[in-house]
Amino acid sequence: MKIITYDQISNAVIDLITHAASNLPEDVAESLGNSLNIEISESGKSVLNKIIKNAEIAKNENKPLCQDTGLAVFFVEIGSDVKIEGGTITESINEGTRRGYEVGYLRKSTCDPLTRKNIGDNTPAIIHYEFVSGDKLKILYAAKGGGSENMSRIKMMKPSDGIKGIIDFAVETMEIAGPNPCPPNIIGIGIGGNFERSAVIAKKALFRNIGTINHDKELAEIEKTIYKKVNNIGTGPMGFGGVCTVLAVHIIKEPCHIASMPVAVNIECHSHRHTEIIL
C-alpha cells in the first residue's frame, strides 16, 4: 500500500494550477509555431504571431496567458494500491484549487448559476475519477476557459446517422462557433457512452498531446477528415479569416446503447493549458 497524504495532493495541485496558468504546454506552442507555416491569411499570421508573443510574455513575467484562468478540471487516476491519508481526495484537490488560484493571482470564475454571485475561490473543481491498478496517483489538470466551453455541443444522434453524421455535426458545431471560442482550437470529441459519458470522454480527449496519433485507425481517419473540413470553413485565427481554425481533433469512443449514438464536441481555445503529475 502506498500512502499519499492530503497535503501532498493539495500541494501538487497548487503547482499544477500556477504553472499551467502562465506556461503554454510544449505541444501547443509547437503546434502554433507550425501553423504559421500553414496559414495563408495575413491577419491570421498576425494573430498567430501575437499569440506566440503573448506566451513569451506570460512565461517571462509569470503572468496568466489569459485572464480567463478557467474552471479547474481534473482527471484523476487512482491506483488500487494507493491509500490517501489526512482527508478525502476531493477535499484535497479543492483545497489545492482554492490556494492555487489565490497565490497565483488567478481569476476566480466560479459563480452561482442563478444569482451569478461569485463563489470567490474558484471551487468547486470539476473532478473525474478513474480507478486503475497499481500504486500511483495520476492527476491530469486543465484550466478550461468559458468562451470555448460555451460553444461546445452534445447531440443524441441516431445510429443511422453514421460516421458522416458525426463528421457533419462536428463541422457544424465549429461553423456555428466561428470566432467565439478563440480559434485556432483543439476539438475533443466523445462518441458513445450515454448522455453524460459522451461529454466526459470528449473532455478527456482534449488531454491527448497535439501531434500524437489515435491508435484506432478508423478514429484517426475521422479526425483527419474533420480537421480538413473545419480548416476549410475559413474562420481562421480569432475568426479574422484564414485556414488555421483548428490545431487538432481528438476522438475517444466507448460502447453505447443499441438505440443511441451520443456525440459530444468539446471545444478548447488556443490557450490550451493542460498538464499532469504522477504521485
Partner: protein
Amino acid sequence: MEFKKIKAPLTEDVIAGLKTGDEVLISGTIYTARDEAHRRLTALIFENKPLPFDIKGQIIYYVGPSPAKPGEVIGSAGPTTSYRMDKYAPVLMEYGLKGMIGKGKRSIEVKDAVKKYKAVYFGAIGGAGALIAKSIKSSKVIAYEELLSEAIRELTVEDFPAVVVNDIFGGDLYDEGKSKFAGKFK
C-alpha cells in the same frame, strides 16, 4: 501592416474613418464592463438614473482581468466573448456609447445599432491577455467593486491593439474573412 492610431473617447469623425479590417492602436480612457455590469447599466437607463460614468463617446471593453500582483497595474486582460452583451449594447449606443471592444460575432440588432448610432465594434485577440495588459497604463475600479473582476474599471490605455470588426457601413470582418478563405485549406 498599417496601424491607425486613434484616441478614446471617440469622435464621429474618427468613427467615420474606420473601416472593417482596419488595425488600430487605441490610446486614452476606456471603461470595462461584462455581463452583470451591463445589466445594471441598462437598468439605470430604464429607471432614468445617472450612470456611474458619462457614457457619451466612450468605449467599453468587455474584460474581466485577472488580479494584479503587487506592483502591477493590472493582471492578464484580454477580451471576453461579446455576444453575451448583445442584449444590452443597443440601448447603451442609443445613450451615447460609441465603441465596444471584445471578441466574437455580434447579433443583427447590435450591427444595426452600430450603423444607426454611428458606433464601432473592435475585435481584440482573445487569449492574449498578457500581451494586451502591456498597453494598459492605469486601472481604477469606479463602480460595482463587489463584482470583483467584473467591476467597472476606468483604464488608461496606450496603443491598445484591436481590429475594426463592425463599422458604420455595415461591414463585418468575420463574414468577409470567412468567405475569403473558405475552401482554401490544402
